[in-house]
């Protein structure tokens, strides 16, 4: 499904569109074709060969790793996926960079029409994210390459669509839609006045909150100034009034008890455990009594040695070093450690959870803060 061409989306020439389409096809080929083929090869050939030699199948992720790294199919798969990822950012980055002189003033004009944007040039970028450009995206979410920069935001909005070969919908928002629907369905008694989206990126998952709760004031925050500059402009051209700010989800500038609902989408798995704990603690501080937090991300870590090994592929090959930390939380106890009651922790079965068919351990979980407002 093609991406919705809103006025902030980078414009592409005929050849640029074709290059992006080729990269999306490569992504689809590796994920929809090679990924299941690899599992079949492991189950039908590699694991039985190992069992014949050792008397039992590989019993740990490390053993699976040794088997897989000796396989031409796995090596070829990994090189293709990594190569596609680098090609994606470089190819789309070239287009975005070329268009910055048009996009930057267009964004400023759009932001003046609705919504708000608050930047914090003195915000410290945490070492854990400054050291590693997540997803091998050069510059990560926060690097600025010019004045009033929005490069990272424009690149991410286009890049996610190509990466997911359109699988998150024309607005890259299906995760956010599922999260917003979960709030409505699970907590019909909550009539949120203020909602906060943590690690909002280009705002793809923030806008569905405004659609689901038209009466609410919706806020989005992200570490990256280029992200929120772009997100604010994108929201404005799509007709949504949203308050974006550059902030660290672990230590925000909002006063205590500011929000009825706090959500995040695919944020926690890019954070090391101490930062995740800080985010959970910050959610408890920011929620009003009776308010809820929902995190759409990993729910656990697979026990099966093959699944566990394949889950950690992104850590070794896609600059996502902290993924295991979010998958191995003891979520109820960790929530209790920051002030929630353990029995107020929940997991939501919501259709549309990210890559559920691949990872089988992703979904939405959260906690409700005690009390009534």
């Amino acid at each position: 499904m093609p991406q919705f061409r809103h006025p902030m989306l980078v414009e592409e020439t005929h050849d640029e569109r074709s290059r992006a389409a080729f990269i999306a096809s490569l992504r689809e080929y590796t994920m929809s074709d090679l990924y299941p083929k690899l599992r079949r090869h492991y189950e039908q050939t590699l694991a039985p060969a190992y069992a014949a030699a050792h008397g039992k199948p590989p019993e740990s992720p490390d053993r699976v790793r040794a088997v897989m790294e000796g396989s031409q199919l796995y090596t070829g798969y990994s090189l293709l996926v990594r190569g596609t990822q680098e090609l994606l950012w470089d190819t789309l980055g070239e287009v975005v960079e070329k268009q910055l002189p048009i996009l930057i003033p267009r964004a400023a004009a759009a932001r003046a029409t609705r919504g708000t944007l608050e930047l914090n040039p003195r915000l410290p970028i945490p070492a854990y994210t400054a050291a590693v450009d997540i997803h091998v995206m050069p510059g990560g979410f926060h690097t600025e390459i010019t004045d009033d920069d929005l490069f990272a935001g424009a690149l991410y909005d286009r890049g996610v669509h190509v990466f997911a070969f359109g699988g998150l919908g024309p607005l890259n928002d299906e995760m956010g839609v599922a999260t917003a629907a979960a709030v409505r369905r699970q907590f019909p008694d909550i009539k949120p006045g203020k909602i906060l989206d943590l690690g909002c990126g280009a705002g793809n998952s923030t806008l569905p909150l405004a659609d689901a709760f038209p009466e609410a004031e919706v806020y989005g925050l992200d570490l990256g100034a280029p992200m929120v500059r772009y997100a604010a402009a994108r929201a404005a051209v799509l007709g949504k009034s949203i308050h974006f700010s550059q902030a660290d989800a672990a230590h925000t500038h909002f006063p205590d008890a500011s929000f009825d609902v706090i959500v995040s989408n695919l944020l926690l798995h890019e954070m090391p455990r101490p930062a995740i704990m800080d985010v959970l603690r910050e959610c408890h501080r920011l929620l009003r009594p009776g308010g809820v937090m929902l995190h759409h991300d990993l729910l656990g870590w697979p026990e099966d040695p093959y699944d566990s090994f394949m889950m950690s592929w992104t850590t070794r090959h896609n600059n996502e070093p902290y993924e295991r930390a979010s998958g191995t939380l003891n979520f109820p106890k960790d929530c209790a450690a920051v002030g929630f009651a353990e029995e107020d922790v929940f997991v939501v079965a919501e259709p549309g959870a990210y890559m559920e068919e691949v990872y089988q351990v992703s979904g939405i979980r959260g906690a409700r803060k005690r009390g009534t407002s």
């Binding site: 005929h14 290059r19 389409a21 096809s25 990594r82 960079e97 450009d133 050069p138 690097t143 070794r316």
Partner: protein, 105 residues
């Protein structure tokens, strides 16, 4: 204004027997994207000609790809990828060396 073209973080993992071989594969991927883009541009020329229109730059750039044409292009991209990546993703089949084959013959 200059974007960075490499990512901060751990060094790129090594996949084949040398990092140079990995680089060559990545270069081939970029070139294959270019072949695909050229093929699609040629297809646009053909579609315009089929409709009796001149393939001027502006009409190529503004060509709206009909759904059936896009489906055919997607299939062609897929075939191209299959052909280019075939040897990279061969399943692990035990192969007889030429020497051993000669000995057994």
């Amino acid at each position: 204004m200059k974007r960075r073209r490499y990512a901060n973080g751990p060094v790129r993992p090594q996949y084949l027997d040398s990092p140079d071989a990995d680089r060559a594969v990545m270069m081939i991927l970029a070139l294959t994207a270019e072949v695909s883009a050229l093929r699609e541009r040629l297809d646009t020329h053909e579609k315009l000609a089929d409709a009796g229109k001149p393939a001027a730059t502006a009409s190529v750039e503004s060509f709206e790809v009909p759904e059936t044409v896009e489906a055919a292009r997607a299939a062609a991209r897929r075939s191209l990828i299959d052909r280019v990546t075939r040897v990279l993703i061969e399943p692990d089949i035990p192969r007889m060396t030429a020497k051993k084959a000669t000995e057994e013959a």
